[in-house]
Symmetry: D3
Subunit: 284 residues, 6 copies
């Protein structure tokens, strides 16, 4: 997910602008102009660093001097200084909350992703943890980037990334085979085709007409195993299998047992617990 | 929080655009153009309806016909149809996730707010539950509106709403009395002035120089009570008291016992659990 | 009114862009590229400096070197050089008119505000001079900032700044007391509530239900005095009183005699006389 | 100055958005949603109608029903209803000030332009009154359109409209003849070329090398006459003559006596007196 | 390539706005306002219809009534009316050139694509014709959509569509196998991986480490055949083969002879010959 | 066509953004961050350099170091390095195609324009080659600038540049004389007036009522000569004559024989053949 810095600056500026409104009346009223200060962003919790790049870009864009003390993906300790910022006091105070909100959400997502990933790794499962498009509205880029930093797979970032024929498409088109054939005929060779299915039989049908990936939606762990076995037996073992729906931290390993390729979980981005971070003035 | 619909449309379109990218390749490939369908948004959980207005505006903006079955603030039952949508199939499928993400997050926030509010009401506490500016990046408007729908107080929506002299301002300015005087001299009469304090003594100082609101930051319930008593004894009982920091659902009533005016909680917006909602095609 | 420079740059660029269109055809045709020149902005009138910050930001944004010779709020003499600019000739000439228009309007507003403010000060009146929202379309920020530089109060910068229940709201809601109660119930604690009234009796009603500020609309100086006396007698002397309508430079002191807190005048921003400033090439 | 309505809507929305901020808190708090009302925009002064088209477009864009009672260019009487508006109360109240600010400024400009134009017409002078680019920042389109409605000439709307070689260009290029020749060589045939001169001799030089228009800058009425005579005598009577600088309402006719073609005055747009208009709720 | 109409409207408006500038001075000066006319867009050449949808959306957005007489993809005859438009004369004339430019370019691209495609079909070749990203600057969406209408494959629409490791990536990374492995490790499962190679040996290497598609860059027809044979012999016949570089209309069938899957040609979008279309007023 | 660099940056960023989408997945996956490389843009054909300024501005905007080896307007040889770029590898690779597309199209236009211009010069014709508004959608600025670099005349860049009364205007207004009079009455003195005519008689009529330029539309070379003679005979030899329609490279000199002033050709911008340029990594 490499976006040239100048384009990211614009997105970050939009976020800051919303918070500024017609101006930071408090800093304007009580803080003198052109006063140089130092500040530190400190974590109050253990977690995985994320958003360090975005926060640095925003702060530097505002002509502040930034020293990131951790890189995206590093472990953060409780009480650790993760970023030092120097520059104009009014500017730092006006951007404080925006910087912290970016870091807090992205660290929260990366931390949760890392935890699940390590659970899989310890169990020796080959499955990747993936996010869904159930992000906070408008935050697909930031939410997905945080998932990636935490070691997860972004899945589709937006609707033009891949063909994904879901239940609602099938409710309209009717037939899995017809839908996949249509997709193949009408889509660039550069796109993969994934189909969401609700039974082993449909998984097999989808594989036969050439789906690249099959999403087993709301299957039980046993049903996942059955579908996986059926495909292997039918010589479609090469198609990728994604498990989606009903997966929680508690039952994750049950699903992972069947050697599926991808396990996607909406809660990674729709129910985020922000990491507790704060900004402290360290020196006038 | 009344914004003319045309201005809201623009914000909603930005959110949708991010998800669309260069186009919904799946709908384009498998769904015929100009096919009229019906769809229903269904809740899979009990909660408070929010985001109904925003989702309706977005859907109508896309020339879909919308029938909201619940209004913002209504209780939703598990399995309840909360919105019916009719119109072009490709358009509905392209906007499905954006509509759901809006509703899911806003309902999640409203539901959590309502729960805390009712807890206070049952205990007979007069305090209002308020949000902070710890929202998802760029979502201050939507997050705050959901808090309001849930019965909470938005607090500042952005930095130009009120003077709020916080720890970091005081770390620079030094002295509470000087800071409040400066704020009074440099600010429009139309703004309230709030000061964050860390001791009962500072609370009294702030009240004496004319702060309208005093934020007791990271006080224990006992410290809150002491500060409240000191102010009342000193005849500054009319100043508003806000409790912030360390408040959780479990200890909420302990803080509320001291008859404070506002209890603000960052988790209302920084650690949201989205309500589980989905869209179902009801008829081709 | 502190807005981070990067956000101001965008607003200033919009203003410049309108004037540029598809390009400055004159500079392009007759001025060589990459020619370094010096220029000075000179005032042809006495007045109060304003817009120096905005003009500097725009010029620096265009990679010009700026030396402001006066600061916002300083007095300017007729013939005084207020800003020196160095850099690319085509760029300076393309931005000349935009820079001058910014400075001219903002100085004009600041100068008029200062004059009225000094009139009040000499008479020993405590009232603040305040602007209204009757600005040039889209120029609320620049017009209000100029008022502030001239020593005036910005009043509301936009509609989300404060509750201000005006005649048209009351024409719909009917009753002052009901309106204020509704406002208190539906608004964040962080907002003040002001009510516009047309009689002393209504002023008293508004004060009784808890308005923070009362606007006496189109009152004569004697009516202002009566209302002020009534409120004081009724022990509501603490509520702020704003006089609005019919106030002109000539009768300003009559209104100020009654110890009102704010006197607001639309002409500060709706009928501006621009200060006469020009740009002169000082050296090739 | 015909711009398709959809493009104008965007500009008008920007202006409204600035005023709205995060929402009209007053209407939101005290006015019920979806309440239909009627309102009238009334003039408190005599003048020339302008901005009726822009105000109508904005109001209709907001789904209000508009009935303009006067057209741009019509005379307005004191007390006259110039526009009736029906629709949602919150929307009308949120847009009230923006609508009035547009109309007030544009009427003010059109009225002042008309007055000067009629003065010339009564005196039998052939000269056109023209505006300059000394508008309020960012309002070139609206200010120039109002001048046109008042019967004035817009002159350049922006920098790509015509070649206008001014004092500062000549200060760099040195020589009038060289400058005009350069302009002719480097510019499209579709553009006129105007030169600002400070003496009759330079006026003649400019005419000889083919300038289409000559601006006599800061000439006295006698100097204007001399230059005009010299050009006619030298058989360059066909070139257009523009008088600029030092022209005021009082001395306008002295300048017009010399049969110049254009008289341009910065005060038409840099020192506007807004027409006094207000919005009144006429029926709940 | 389905983008909701509202999002397309914005892109089309940008294009129109550029042409309008501060207004269509001709229509404004000579055409009366609110005059209803009829117009027809007529083709002066035979070709494939494209851009009909975009032109319709733009015209309808401007409140014009549109009747498309051909659909995207249909054959157009010389002299055929392809679209009828009714509505305001000034609006039609202001948008005339923008509508024609859209249709002309898109028809031109679709026609060229169709011609090549039919050439392949007649020869019985299985290869798809594909575009590259060599579009006119900023017109990827419109150019690629026209290719698709002409029966071609869009290839990547933008850089986030697929991993495509090109010569310049390899110049940095060094080794094909390392590059593909890195790509697999760092990319979502939802993306295909293509590699550009310059020899049969490298094609085989790429296939062995799991590339989904192999681009044979600047191969001769014989080299293409050799590479194809080598891959089939080595049991990597399932990988897709793309031929790119040096392909022209004249030698197209030579390349197609080797049963490659995709033949991509930059000239489809970088050297477009616009179809000759014009707008005619049919009735006042 | 001088636009301050900062405003151009925004247009260029839009173009780049379209190609980037949610990020360059290839560079992100296989190229290490913060790797400094050198690259060269090389031409594979002979032609006229154009777009060097735009490409430099975009590259420098992205914090790359640029050394242009040729200036806009210079001749380029086959194999010549025209630009060297140093900086971050991911950034260079992400912007590669956008940079090349800009240069390729602009060089292609400039080269074609230069060729036609030289043809005229060699034949001793005085006519200027001019472009029309038949550009690629949204690319008027870039296409017209390239024409100018190639030595052509931009003609109108957009609709506010000049009055040009065309066939469709006349179809509505009816009468050439009425149309020109209307244009004169309703337009600023700063605009030229051009009329498109279809006969020598109409050319004469237009000249008599004061058109500045007359466009002979779809005239044969002989008809052009006749019209030119008629005007000269009637003492309107000073009006500019433009030939438009049916002009091709092959018959250009026939039209030029009649001493017309301007020959405009749509193919300069609607049927561009991009110059073949590529970017090569020269050193890791």
């Amino acid at each position: 997910m490499f976006i040239p810095r100048k384009i990211l600056e614009d997105r970050l500026k939009e976020i800051l602008s919303e918070d500024i409104g017609e101006g930071d009346v408090t800093s304007s009223a009580v803080i003198p102009p052109n006063l140089a200060i130092k500040a530190a962003i400190v974590s109050k919790e253990e977690g995985v660093a994320a958003g360090m790049e975005e926060a640095s870009i925003l702060a530097e864009y505002l002509s502040l001097t930034v020293k990131a003390k951790v890189a995206d993906g590093d472990m953060i300790q409780n009480g650790e200084v993760i970023m030092e910022i120097k520059g104009d006091a009014r500017t730092i105070l006006s951007a404080e909350r925006t910087l912290l909100n970016l870091i807090s959400r992205m660290c929260g997502i990366a931390t949760a992703t890392r935890t699940l990933k390590e659970k899989l790794q310890k169990a020796g499962a080959k499955a990747r943890i993936a996010a869904t498009r159930k992000s906070a509205p408008g935050l697909l880029y930031f939410d997905k980037k945080a998932v990636m930093i935490g070691g997860g797979d972004t899945h589709r970032v937006h609707l033009d990334d891949m063909i994904l024929i879901k239940d609602n498409h099938l409710a309209i088109v009717g037939d899995i085979e017809a839908a996949v054939k249509k997709a193949k005929a009408n889509t660039s060779f550069s796109k993969k085709i994934e189909v969401e299915v609700t039974s082993s039989e449909d998984a097999l049908k989808a594989a036969k007409v050439g789906a690249d990936i099959i999403m087993l939606d709301n299957f039980s762990p046993q049903q996942v195993k059955d579908a996986s076995d059926l495909l292997r037996k039918s010589n479609f073992g090469r198609v990728l299998l994604e498990v989606s729906g009903n997966v929680k931290s508690e039952n994750l390993l049950e699903f992972a047992a069947s050697q599926v390729d991808i396990i996607s979980m909406g809660e990674l981005t729709h129910s985020v617990k922000g990491l507790d971070v704060s900004l402290e003035i360290t020196k006038n």
